[in-house]
């Protein structure tokens, strides 16, 4: 910077002042007001959407019992009620390869409620399996489900409930709370800064594998750790790694997902799928302003799902890697192993 530029920086900084009294209160009042308005709009939109979808997909919005209002399950399909005992709804955050669904409770307006809920491999209704302190609710943004355990965050700790039963344990040494953790193949992995932590179940030993970068995806035995445009594919069983070169060093807006033989990422309106030596690019992803995009992958399948941040609406794209077929669903969806879970009003359909 030359002398003038230094002077500009000084003059700009000299304008700084302390906030006037009462500004904080006005900010909070305005935020509350906008939040109420937003809820009202979303609730009205959800009612209207359900009416439209009822003709096309027989969506059973507002139903208390799946059997009373929904079409019967298709062949090999299981219905899971989203309706919880206190009237809240289940929001699925993780799907296990065995069909277990782990999630949180939300009000009809999408507000989080305390508690962690699990629908086991054959269950048609979820049961409460964990408590979340009220102050830790904002941290309940991701979960993982696998034979290694049922996992959810509690601030910067990962709570792990053993799949075989027993009390929940605490994992997550070195975890910042900002990256997703994963459970697959009986192990649990999380990003611990400069290392990749690999735990053999909730109470098993934890190994550290040096890995600089961000843990982006996991499909046993491969963890995908990205540093810029270099994606390291690390075999957590042997520690061996190979490097993959990504087209860009930027963080894709929709994140990454891995499945058996698959690495995918979504960025803006583009989904890129690497399957073996094939690379496919799809456009027109399900998204809208204010939606959170989640990418998951199973065996031969990639799902890009968008969920309204405060509402009860979503949409998903299911991409079949073998056939190249894409299917659009009017509700959020998750993939794991051979399973696909998608929301249909007050039900989840699991196939």
């Amino acid at each position: 910077m030359d002398e003038l530029e230094h002077a500009i920086a000084e003059r700009l900084l000299a304008a700084a002042a302390e906030p006037p009294p009462g500004l904080g209160g006005r900010v909070l009042a305005e935020a509350r007001s906008r939040r109420r308005w937003r809820r009202a709009v979303l609730a009205a939109a959800a009612l209207g959407t359900a009416g439209v979808m009822a003709g096309a997909l027989v969506v059973a919005s507002g139903a208390a019992s799946p059997d009373a209002v929904a079409p019967p399950p298709g062949p090999g399909e299981r219905l899971i009620s989203r309706v919880l005992p206190d009237g809240a709804r289940l929001r699925a955050l993780a799907l296990g390869p065995d069909g277990s669904v782990l999630g949180m409770a939300v009000t009809r307006a999408g507000e989080p409620r305390p508690g962690v809920w699990l629908a086991g491999p054959a269950a048609r209704t979820p049961r409460r399996v964990g408590d979340v302190p009220a102050g830790a609710l904002p941290y309940l943004w991701t979960m993982a489900e696998g034979s290694g355990g049922h996992l959810w965050p509690e601030r910067q700790t990962i709570r792990c409930l053993p799949a075989a039963g027993g009390p929940a344990t605490a994992l997550g040494r070195g975890w910042s709370g900002r990256e997703r953790f994963h459970a697959d193949g009986g192990v649990i992995v999380w990003d611990a800064g400069d290392t990749l932590a690999v735990a053999a179940g909730c109470a098993g030993p934890v190994r550290d594998i040096p890995a600089k970068g961000t843990l982006e995806a996991f499909s046993y035995p491969y963890a995908f750790v990205r540093a810029g445009a270099v994606m390291r594919k690390i075999d957590v069983a042997t520690g061996r790694a190979e490097e993959l070169r990504l087209p860009s060093g930027e963080q894709p807006s929709g994140g990454f997902a891995a499945g058996p033989g698959i690495l995918a990422w979504a960025d803006g309106d583009t989904l890129t799928v690497w399957a073996g030596t094939r690379r496919r690019v799809l456009h027109r992803l399900p998204r809208a302003a204010g939606h959170d995009v989640r990418l998951t992958a199973g065996r031969g399948r990639v799902v890009c799902s968008a969920t309204a941040q405060d509402g009860d609406t979503g949409q998903a794209l299911v991409y079949d890697v073998a056939t190249g077929r894409r299917t659009d669903l009017p509700g959020e969806a998750l993939a794991a192993g051979d399973r696909l879970l998608y929301r249909d009003g007050d039900l989840y359909r699991l196939s």
């Binding site: 530029e5 302390e18 500004l23 900010v27 305005e30 507000e111 009220a134 904002p138």
Partner: protein, 166 residues
Amino acid sequence: MPHPELGAFEEFVQHRLPALFRYACVLTGDRHDAEDVVQEALARTGAAWWRVRRKDDPEGYVRTAMARIAADRRRRAARERLTADPPDRAVEDGALGRITGDAGLTAALAGLPPRMRAVLALRYVDQLTDAEIAVVLGCAAGTVRSQAARALAKLRRAAAEEDTHG
């Protein structure tokens, strides 16, 4: 019982409001405009706190929103601007010359269009590159460069005039 989400937001506002307001002053150069900018940015953030809280950096989100709001707002007509009084007469005093030069620069900064000032704040206070500024403001890097060049040209002229008259 306060809603836990809003509770977390209240905590964020309570802790970060002074720093955010100072940043808004830097972006706008005016306390009243700063108040508008910080209130609008935080109200938007509070309404979507559930989503924002999950991101890496809520404060970064708010600052980006503030920069955009500051850059996109219209310049208010007939705004009263505070400027330093000009010296009564020319004197051969180096230190005083520097002071009047600074005052002229301050006035020239205050007269810049909002987007130009925001570009300068992001470049010289936040030390962002032009490409990063373009991302924050949602425009092309070429636009950032042209805005910065035009702003610097105006400020250099103002500084030169001060030197001449001082």
